[in-house]
Chain length 145, copies 4
């Protein structure tokens, strides 16, 4: 077990500058492990959908980013890692409040990383969405890891 290969300030900068689809303010890092992370997304009224709940794409975008962070905790900043598949199950309708995503890797290979993410509405114990997804790791990064 080694230290995370990326720090919170760098994750937050990436979320603000490089991944606008996460949200205009980016995320705040709550915790970083090696192969895991917890991130917090502020509430944005533009993410609401009919019925007053937070939209699915908002939750999927947050989960996708959280898993990207989990990959980077294990192999360092990797700009060209890309999602190859993502499956989301929507479990409950989130209240209009901030979201917290807990991501962890299930497998880290040379070419593919697979992980799962639980998304919660802040302060709630039951998750609102469960995501599992695969990241493809570019050859140079795989060689370095």
């Amino acid at each position: 077990m080694t230290a995370p290969r990326i720090d919170a300030a760098e994750v937050e900068r990436i979320s603000r500058e490089d991944v606008p689809s996460v949200g205009p303010e980016g995320v705040r890092v709550l915790a970083l492990g090696e192969g895991s992370c917890s991130v917090w997304l502020p509430y944005d009224p533009r993410s609401i959908r009919p019925g007053g709940t937070i939209s699915g794409p908002t939750m999927m975008g947050l989960a996708d980013f959280a898993l990207y962070v989990a990959v980077m905790t294990a192999i360092g900043p990797v700009k060209l890692a890309v999602t190859t598949d993502l499956t989301c199950h929507f479990l409950r309708r989130p209240e209009p409040r901030p979201l917290v995503a807990h991501a962890k890797l299930l497998k880290l290979g040379r070419r593919l990383a697979i992980g799962e993410v639980a998304v919660h509405a802040e302060g709630e114990t039951e998750p609102v969405a469960h995501i599992v997804a695969t990241y493809s790791i570019p050859p140079e990064a795989g060689a370095a890891s």
Copy 2:
């Protein structure tokens, strides 16, 4: 085979007013069938991710909305239909240009509708993403259908 139970103007209004996560300008309808649709999303620079391609959540959000439209062509406007699961495979990196989504239902039951969506970068023949998802249909709408 009957006519679509929703028209293009209503779909475009819903996309602009009720589903902000699709994008600030909403979609334009290219075609509506019964259980199918094609919709067009203008290019938005905020949807870019590292590498200059369009973000996954943008494609997933568009596909999720296109399938919602396909459901409405079959059973009419249903405000409370919700996505229960969504699986996306990312096939190619889309150029920074408008996207077109072609959605069709694979099954329309009383309680669940399942469909698939191909997302293309405008003018390209090969899809950039493939999505399959399930919508849960509220009881009242199911009874009416």
Copy 3:
């Protein structure tokens, strides 16, 4: 928190008599919770695929059954619950030995139950497959739960 609504003997009988696709000998129950279970599948040489590892359908069939058991621990024996979607990520190639599946519900609604399953080769700590799936619960069972 209440007791599981099905016991180990009944689960093992169902696996042997009603669900032949799990395997000719059925499963052995290692643990039952309310909304969770662990089950053990003996090694069957017919489940091997090229490369000497256990086939994907064997792991998916075991996971599908384990989640069915998790549903029954929560709402009792429900013959007509059916899987509506199943997503499997294959993480490692399992050695030719018995499999253990740990299933737990992520959500139990009136109409749908969603859960996840980790499949392990016996004696290994890292999972060989991760599955998330949805069961549709027949109306009468939903009313009773």
Copy 4:
């Protein structure tokens, strides 16, 4: 467009000898394209589940194999291609009769092939299951293609 890089006799031999999880008699090939195939699976009473329909793992195993065939039509026999993810949506309950699977690749890359499969009960126009899955292609095969 070139000819399929594998012929029907070889596919049928592989299904009988190398992939027992498809079923004891293997499949019959109905059609082979480049990147696509249609295969037929005889009815096997052991594939029945409660309610008299064909089990999910039977359909998933057939679809998984059909997609493997589609990969081989494009790059030739590749023993070590492995499924990395598979998502199945169950659409209708199949009658106890033979199954037909139509598979086609959505993308063929150097490292990953992604495709979709429609499974039908023989003689029925509506599919009973829809599958999308990813195959990982071993480096040597990718280099040769």
